[in-house]
Amino acid sequence: MEPNLGTIARSISIRPNREETGLESLQFREEIHRLMIVPPENGSSFTALLELPETQAMELLHSPHSDKGVTVPLSGVPLHGINDDHKSYLPSFNGNLTFPSNKVLIERAAKFSVFASGEHSPETSSVPSDSSANLEKVKSEPADTDSNPNSSQLLVSDPTVNIKNQRSEKRKEREKKGKGCTKKTKIEISQDAEKLPYVHVRARRGQATDSHSLAERARREKINARMKLLQELVPGCSKISGTALVLDEIINHVQSLQRQVELLSMRLASVNPRIDFNLDSLFAPESGSLVDSNFSSMVSPLLWPEIPFNGNRQQHQQQWNFDALHRPLWGREEDSHTFITMENSLLSYDSANSASLHSNQLKMEL
């Protein structure tokens, strides 16, 4: 199986090739989460900005942005498009003057009060910018209750950048961040509303800046990023704020899933006198009677790898022509079933078919 999140995370810590893991996790997360838009974050020297008052700092912030002519595809771009842009986009980051974004930190801190490390909120103000170039937003730390609508708002208003570029970019940033990063600076956050595997951590004003607390904070941010992922996975969890409640929901979900598995296995056991799930016989002539379209759409692609493995047959080496076999079988269903296309690329349906011939073939095999 493809590397999962665990190996990806581990590989992050071991400093592997950035882009590969970015792409892998890209693809993994694409399944689970909807695509969100995020501006890039770049390394910078913003110590120069420290002495400036806020307004000037923000001006400085935005002026380099206007020069950048980087246009990034919108979230609707398919994956391969993203990959290309990803590669071309990365070099443009490195020379730009912006600071490492840490909006995630603030957001998380706002949301999960337990994990919030700061005694005070960084004083940054949010300036929505709608340039198609790199967006760096300096966002004020809202109250806990405001953070959610705020972030969702900003999400929606924010145009371009591909979040996945962000992720790999942030991994690079992560490696750069050391204990020696500038301390005693306000946290500048950029528009970033998705779940990162890690976040660039900066010491907040007046906070402890020794290595232990930095590590602690980094760890906490990692945890918050993962919690966000979990929130998206579990239905109905994204609206909840607060770690304890989210954990509650997750626990309920896991328990319900486990209970469902128990029930279903009981059901399966009761249905069969012996445990033989003869998949082909299930679907062959009965296909006309299968009204549950969801079921059929899901099962038909599942069926394909099954054919060689059917246990009740002596001949395992039956290399059936899947296309020819299943096209007529399922051809009776309308091609307009959109959910079928979901399971997709394996299946090409043919409305014209000689269903009887093939179902007879099936029966012979049974």
Binding site: G6, F28, K222, Q258, A269, R274, I275, N310, M342
Partner: protein, 195 residues
């Protein structure tokens, strides 16, 4: 890339294979409970072997299955010819669990030092805030304990890996439920049509 559909396909494949191997060897009829057990076990092991020992919960599942003797034979049969390799790999990784425990205790020590330091600095907070924070922290800790019990093999992990494991485990459970539901409704439908 672990797309849900390929996950389900893989799971179904292994599950059916495991079931075949199991039923082909046992001649007698099993009662419903045994059947349920076999079905569930083979499903679990199918998924766990599909992960190939990359995630902790899969290893824990396999380890648990092979631990009790009566299940062990069944499990080995279900896993098939590659079972020895798999079980060996699992047992070696179980050894790392004890290492994780050592690491974890060290982390606990470190964390307690940090909290002591932080308490000193944080004394200027108003009392309500401190109280609320500690309550929230306790709640979260309780929840994590429960979650650790739920996810197989989760007791010895730190929070970060626990969350990752939960992510993986949830996707696996979802896939399993979907596939089993499909098969169940299909067989029921078929039986109804045959009668």
């Amino acid at each position: 890339m672990r797309s849900p559909s390929s996950l389900k396909q893989e799971f179904l494949k292994r599950w059916m294979r495991g079931l075949q191997r199991c039923t082909s060897s046992s001649k007698k009829d099993m009662n419903i409970l045994e059947r349920k057990k076999v079905i569930k076990l083979s499903a679990d092991l199918a998924m766990a072997s599909a992960r190939n020992g990359k995630t902790s919960w899969s290893r824990a599942l396999i380890a648990n299955a092979s631990r009790d003797n009566d299940n062990r034979i069944l499990a080995e049969r279900i896993l098939g010819p590659e079972s020895d390799i798999l079980i060996k790999r699992v047992s070696t990784s179980v050894g790392t669990v004890s290492c994780n425990r050592k690491i974890r205790s060290k982390k606990i020590l470190k964390r307690s030092c940090n909290s002591v330091r932080r308490v000193r600095k944080g004394t200027h907070l108003p009392h309500q805030k401190v109280l609320a924070k500690s309550i929230a922290k306790r709640l979260v800790q309780k929840r994590t304990q429960i979650l650790k019990r739920l996810v197989p093999g989760g007791e010895f992990m730190d929070e970060l890996s626990l969350i990752e494991e939960t992510l993986d485990y949830i996707t696996y459970l979802q896939a399993q439920v979907d596939v089993m539901r499909c098969i169940a409704s299909a067989t029921e439908l078929k039986n109804r049509n045959n009668d």
